[in-house]
Symmetry: D2
Subunit: 349 residues, 4 copies
């Protein structure tokens, strides 16, 4: 076996930083099955949660402070699943400590923080991948190929991200039992109290990244926002660097089931992508039209979190560009900030 | 039988002005079956076409000049199906001659013309109905009822009107044999040469009227347009008088089948309406969500042109407000003009 | 121009025998547009109906007796659209008179009559095509190609033909104005009084022909029938000559919209075909699965009656086998008779 | 608090017998979340598997012999998830030991065994519920209510159960990491070697139970089976005790995705139920038509295994009839045996 092959087959020794809800419902089940990844430690401020999670998933180490994991030479990389406001400090410390980083989206709380991470990644040469896991959705990957090869010059598009008010019931069914520290849960709820800001960041990080994944860079943004009690609507008109024009609608909470997707129209084809709520573990369903027929790929590898972890391990082992990378994460935040700032006037990016 | 009942049962004596394609594929088959309507004359500059049509549909009079029909005391009302640029002069002359008018959309070529018709209708007290026949689509009527009664405060919406490049083949199948005057056909093609203006007017007259039908008046418009060879895209961000915000996308020609519809999201429900190409004679399909279930009405009375003609006859006989009326027609033109004028800045209506 | 090319471009001079409802709603609009066909005469016992139809469609001759048309040397072929019980005598006389025949399905009232027509066709060498027009549906033709080339050995299938109780409302919308002779209409209704026999024949002629078109000959039939007031159900278990096994369900009247289709499962692929009510003039929608993707052709040439007439003209001009031919028509009747006779026991064909 | 209320709130102390694949992918995640159930012991012949499962789910006792659990007074009830051929002996011993039983479907390997269980349940007065968990699918429960209240007299139906060849890929995504004893796995594979018998029993137990759940008892069965290499097809024509007639198709392995459902047609309504692969944890999607509209309930509580466990606990605590009960389990086996025995002749049940 050559040295390179040996590197490839050696699983990436990963630590999970933050064992809250997203870690337990998305990352831990995915990491347990992901090829090329070995979860060697978990970290959570709640010792009870860290230990429960470690026992369930057979993880050898359960820490309560990230310093412990950053000092652990067995750890090559960290997956940052802590609350949004900690993404930047944890990712920065991990890079400084020489660890590769897979950080949940959004990359950071502000574009200034994200720019600092760009600089740090460039300086250290380490791998930083942003956890916009939909880039690893088989359906969106199929769509990207179709847009590049069959659809022709992109002319228009419409994207939407609607959190339906039936989502809590769906989550109650799909989520596994979650170990929780009551104090932590209440404290986190307080941080999400700026609902307008939180919702735009957490959902916008997905849908804006999807738009860029399929259609390239955004030239300008015109946005309008309305609030109705707790509910929020953003309607955004995008002009792409390529000249294509389209819309993005973000709505929370819409009566009914969640709905997320994009339609793209080009010179020689068109495509519709419907992305299911991720915890159904189904790839996006795709309807791709060209040359008189609509093709729907039947895709079975539907756990985007598992695929994301495997892609991260490959990027570290192969030294390839992670997808999405730190600059993709920065662009998503800039789009969120432009959308938050705009009220009917055009903002050039 | 009372005098009023006598009025109701007396069919409206209608003349068709303009026997071109839309008259032959939409209006004549509808008028032949519509209850409460009697087609007593047809007018077309081509004597050959006028006669062929009259023979086929058993119409007693075939004229070549509208003056003849306006002077005919047997004619109570005219249906104006002449090319767009003649809508205003014919409608104005007909009203002046004391005839009720059903005029194909768009109501007129400019808002100035439309305003003149508003004034004329107010002065004469005659009925003028605009041929935005989708207001008589059973599905859109169901949607309007649902929006008013179940959906709650409207918060956001997305509407689209996409002419697919498969439409010519569909038309070739659905349209009956069409009698044509070759000279007239060529001359008309020349008038549609300003494709950007023609397409926005002809399609915008539908989709903007649908938005107003379901959601009320529009407060402001932000629009962007792109041209790609012969193809055109408009992306429009609307702020409604009610505070709701939404988008309208108009695209011609998209690869694939035609697609037209609207989704509306409210405080307590949501609705999606897909409007088929009208010559399938199918009502819009509706999915209306509220209270944990989605309802889809199965609607069979799918010829909106026939229903439009019947509604016009009732409006004349009953003296009720026609739907859509002359002011609705004016508003649709103002939206078209605002969309044509805007390039990323907000235009208040 | 070669002699053969001259033959091809010479339109087939056709007479329509029987101008009742199916003639007016299906055949006349189709014949007016069909390439390669010239309608030179119509025949109906009601002079009023024959003349009205001839005037509307510009047909030069309107007869009241089929003898007139059979004696007319200008007529090369007849389309028999008379009531079912006249299919055999008219077709037989026409063949005897040297005319090619396109006869509405079912080919005849009994298999004995159908066998006589087989013999007559063989003897005269004339073209007889059965009006099971779904064989000319673009979607079913696509499906046939897919079954032959991609689906592999056929293993199972399920077909259904459900007349929904919403059909009358749909017909009222889709059908053009129909000229009717009241006496004839009442007399025909009496002949349809044996509803069980009429329904099985008229609908079975379609669905059994579709099964044979896609899957080849039937080996045996096991059927069960139930009547509920006016409503009828047949459930049929078919064993094909190829070894495939499947079911056919015929139900009249089911609450709701009409529904007709077939699903076929093979060694390497599967296909679902949904055939719309024919007067929507839409090709069957097809979902063809193989090799990890489902393909849906977008088909626009949706008037199966028009395509049927064009195919008939080509068969006459080119001397090719008509589709479906007289033996296909005979097989459909044998399947109808076996289904009518069976009550739970197997009948070998 | 009354004595009865105290009983209701006391969770049912349950032991899981058999910790193989179905236990790990279906029952353990469901039991961990089910209200009113406390998992107090697990049993598996492999000590390694029993311990791993107990650690993961925090279960206090891990046994390797069922005798241990039957002797444990803390255990009130057992869930039998051992291989099919052990259903009868384990359930019989558990009942004899005074434990309530929830037994995976099929209830037993033969109708003789199932009859013995009926006798034992009657004698002991204990609760035995069969694990045909689809009866606890929200969508099928909605369908049952609709059939009873809105659909009117049932006239015909079509049911299907198709295992698609894409299922292994879907399972690889949806299933959690599974602890396995390699020797046990190989030994079990050998017992499934009679693929025809195994497949009919394992899938028939679902679809026949669904038919009875919605439509009542079956009067007779006419069935035909074909084998193609490893693949199997059964086509079954059912005559219900009520007089309704319908079909059931069972096919393994069809190219493509799994598909399971039933359509039922009645005097005043009709319904279509599509049951997703259960590990998506989605309720069946339902389209219920009556009175001019189709209703689709949006159901979020989609884990039928969790709902089944909760219903079992309620049946034990409330002394109510379990669903499905031991006689339902017996009927399902009789239908499987009749289908296996039949080859084109009618078998009365």
């Amino acid at each position: 076996m050559s040295e390179r092959e040996a590197l490839v087959v050696e699983p990436l020794r990963l630590a999970l930083v933050g064992c809250g809800r997203i870690a337990q419902v998305a990352h831990l089940p995915a990491l347990e099955k992901a090829a090329g990844v070995e979860l060697v430690a978990v970290v959570d401020p709640s010792q009870e949660v860290a230990r429960a999670v470690a026992r369930r998933y057979g993880v050898p180490a359960a820490y309560t402070a990230q310093e412990q994991v950053l000092a652990d030479p067995a750890v090559e990389a960290v997956l940052v699943a802590a609350p949004d406001r900690f993404h930047y400090p944890i990712a920065a410390e991990a890079l400084t400590a020489g660890k590769h980083v897979l950080v949940e989206k959004p990359l950071a709380a502000t574009s200034a923080e994200a720019e600092a991470l760009v600089e740090l990644v460039d300086r250290t040469g380490l791998v930083l991948q942003v956890g916009a896991m939909k880039r690893h959705d088989q359906g969106l990957q199929y769509a990207r190929g179709f847009v590049a090869e069959r659809l022709g010059e992109v002319r228009s598009f419409n994207a939407w991200y609607r959190i339906g008010d039936l989502r809590p019931g769906i989550e109650a069914t799909l989520f596994p039992y979650v170990y929780a520290d009551q104090a932590a849960r209440e404290s986190e709820t307080a941080f999400k109290a700026d609902r307008q800001r939180y919702l735009l960041a957490t959902h916008g990080a997905h849908i804006f990244d999807t738009v860029r994944f399929l259609l390239g860079d955004v030239g300008s943004v015109i946005a309008r926002h309305r609030q109705h009690g707790r509910d929020q609507v953003w309607q955004v008109l995008l002009t792409m660097a390529s000249g294509a024009i389209g819309t993005v609608s973000i709505t929370v909470d819409v009566p009914g089931v969640p709905s997320e997707g994009i339609e793209v129209f080009g010179a020689s084809g068109s495509i519709r992508v419907d992305t299911p709520f991720p915890f159904y573990r189904q790839a996006s369903s795709v309807r791709a039209y060209a040359d008189g027929e609509t093709v729907m790929p039947e895709l079975t590898d539907g756990d985007a979190y598992e695929r994301q972890a495997e892609a991260f391990a490959r990027a570290v082992r192969e030294g390839s560009r992670p997808v999405p990378d730190v600059r993709d994460g920065l662009h998503a935040i800039r789009l969120i900030e432009a959308t938050a700032a705009a009220d009917g006037e055009e903002i050039t990016l």
